[in-house]
């Protein structure tokens, strides 16, 4: 569960990125967070992943209060999240399998658990036959699937996808979105941050629109109307 309660965020240079943002995403929900550049989307992601702390208000993520979390607890909070980035952020000198296994290894999973879980997740994202390839041998859509597999492998409660289709053509974008929807149907909460209007409109999901650091609309599909 994600909850923002009257969250304000100002940066040291004086930029007021968020001005009293409040919303709640229940467990098992699928939501889009949309808005133009500079609207505050990235700040919301950074708050969700604990990269920054709110100036005021409360940020609750999977039972952790990020406005008041101890630094030593942060890794354990992050294990409840899976993050997917626009630029994939894969390790080039590791194979597909190693990239996914790496996410398990660094949180101390045993070799046995890794051998059991990684093939399952690769099959889920449709990359079981590409596990020995390196990222540069894959297409953009396939690389994003690896990133999704890596985000999924530790069985997170929430997947945050930051512009996951930003580098992909429309057909590959749709595939990725279908995959995220499938993951959501398996019980994981999914939050997709995007500014791709057509993509959002093709899914009948909740859309939280932000502009100028404020939520300007929050509701099912038709509320996507942030353009000025």
């Amino acid at each position: 569960m994600v909850q923002f309660i009257d969250v304000f965020k100002s940066y040291e240079n004086g930029t007021k990125a968020l001005r009293g943002v409040s919303f709640k995403i229940q467990d098992g929900e699928f939501a889009f967070l949309v808005g133009p550049s500079g609207s505050g989307k990235t700040t919301i992601i950074k708050l969700l992943t604990g990269e920054i702390a709110p100036t005021d208000g409360k940020v609750l993520v999977n039972d952790y209060d990020l406005s008041n979390i101890r630094f030593s607890k942060m890794p354990y909070m992050r294990r409840t999240l899976g993050v997917v980035f626009q630029d994939y952020r894969l390790i080039e000198d590791k194979t597909v399998y190693e990239n996914v296994a790496f996410a398990m290894r660094v949180i101390g999973a045993s070799a046995k658990e890794i051998r059991r879980r990684v093939p399952y997740v690769l099959e889920l994202v449709g990359l079981d036959t590409r596990s020995r390839r390196h990222p540069q041998e894959l297409s953009g859509g396939e690389q994003q699937r690896v990133a999704i597999a890596r985000a999924l492998v530790n069985n997170p409660r929430l997947i945050i996808a930051d512009e996951p289709t930003g580098n992909l053509d429309p057909a590959r974008s749709l595939e990725i979105m279908m995959l995220l929807q499938k993951i959501n149907e398996l019980g994981t909460t999914v939050l997709v941050v995007t500014h791709e209007k057509e993509l959002v409109e093709s899914f009948s999901k909740r859309v939280i629109a932000i502009d100028g650091g404020k939520i300007i609309s929050d509701g099912m599909g038709g509320y996507y109307n942030y353009e000025r």
Binding site: S72, P75, M77, R78, I91, F102, V106, I107, G108
Partner: protein
């Protein structure tokens, strides 16, 4: 620490050394260079100290006894002198013995014919624990009844103390400076490694790796480089010391000096090298990685 994690840290640390082979080689070379300079100055300081100790032990105060005292009376003064603080021992030398020594010094020169031991008094050769307190000890001895004069080589003593202080200060400053230089180089080497792996570190943070888990492979890398550096420098220092000391000793100009055998300083030197190498490695890696762990 779970066994598989321990081996993961070791494996990652070793991989990182080989993946950044040139920088690893460079940092080992810098550690070796710094440790050899540090070690050489430490050995120099230890030898100067030992030489000064030997000279100190041979550098005595002469306490002259009243001419009118009989031998028994003169010998009775000995315990009084030895009771003075900083006096390690007082050796009685009768006027006859002193006269013979004097003549020996001048190869029994005929210039002294017609003279005898009556012209010089009985005396004590007084040896001190700490020659830097010579002036005070001289005064204390002068106050003993029956002692008429005390001759102390104060200027020689001051020279010894000055040399010892200068060598000690130079050694401490050099050791500290070289430690900091090694730390800087090691830290920068590992910083380059961490810079190349910054994306990997960011991913590790993002999926929930603890700072400790991220830090350990870099610490292992630093420890291994530090250890290799200290072992190589110890072996080189050993060789250099043998060559230099043998050459100096074989040079007749320094024949009066006795140098410490390497075996006597080998263990403390190895321990110091290992401590500095491991310390530089550990602190350097911790300094290098800390910026990446703040998020």
């Amino acid at each position: 620490m779970k066994g598989n994690r321990f081996f993961y840290y070791i494996r990652e640390g070793i991989n990182s050394i080989f993946n950044h082979g040139f920088m690893s080689f460079a940092s080992v070379c810098i550690i070796v260079a710094c440790l050899i300079i540090m070690g050489s100055f430490t050995l120099l300081a230890l030898n100067v100290d030992a030489i000064i100790d030997t000279m100190e032990s041979q550098n005595e105060i002469l306490a002259l006894v009243n001419d009118s005292f009989s031998e028994d009376q003169a010998r009775a003064i000995g315990p009084l002198i030895e009771a003075i603080p900083n006096v390690s021992r007082a050796v009685y030398v009768s006027r006859d013995e002193a006269w013979e020594d004097f003549l020996d010094t001048y190869d029994n020169s005929s210039r002294f014919e017609g003279l005898d031991s009556d012209i010089i008094p009985d005396r004590y050769e007084v040896f001190l624990d700490d020659i830097s307190l010579m002036a005070q000890t001289q005064k204390d001895i002068a106050e003993v009844a029956g002692v008429t004069d005390v001759m102390a080589p104060l200027s020689i003593m001051r020279g010894f103390v000055r040399i010892r202080n200068i060598v000690t200060i130079i050694s401490i400053i050099l050791v500290a400076m070289l430690f900091l230089i090694s730390l800087f180089i090691m830290s920068n080497t590992i910083k380059l490694t961490t810079f190349e792996r910054r994306d990997e570190i960011a991913i590790m943070k993002m999926v929930g790796a603890t700072s400790l888990f991220i830090r350990w492979p870099f610490v292992v890398q630093g420890l291994i480089l530090g250890l290799i550096g200290s072992l190589v420098s110890f072996l080189l220092e050993w060789g250099v010391y043998q060559v230099v000391v043998e050459r100096i000793i074989s040079n007749s100009g320094f024949a009066f000096m006795t140098f410490l055998p390497f075996s006597e300083v080998a263990l403390p030197l190895l321990a110091a090298f290992a401590a500095v190498g491991l310390g530089v490695g550990t602190i350097g890696s911790l300094l290098a990685i800390r910026n990446y762990l703040k998020v």
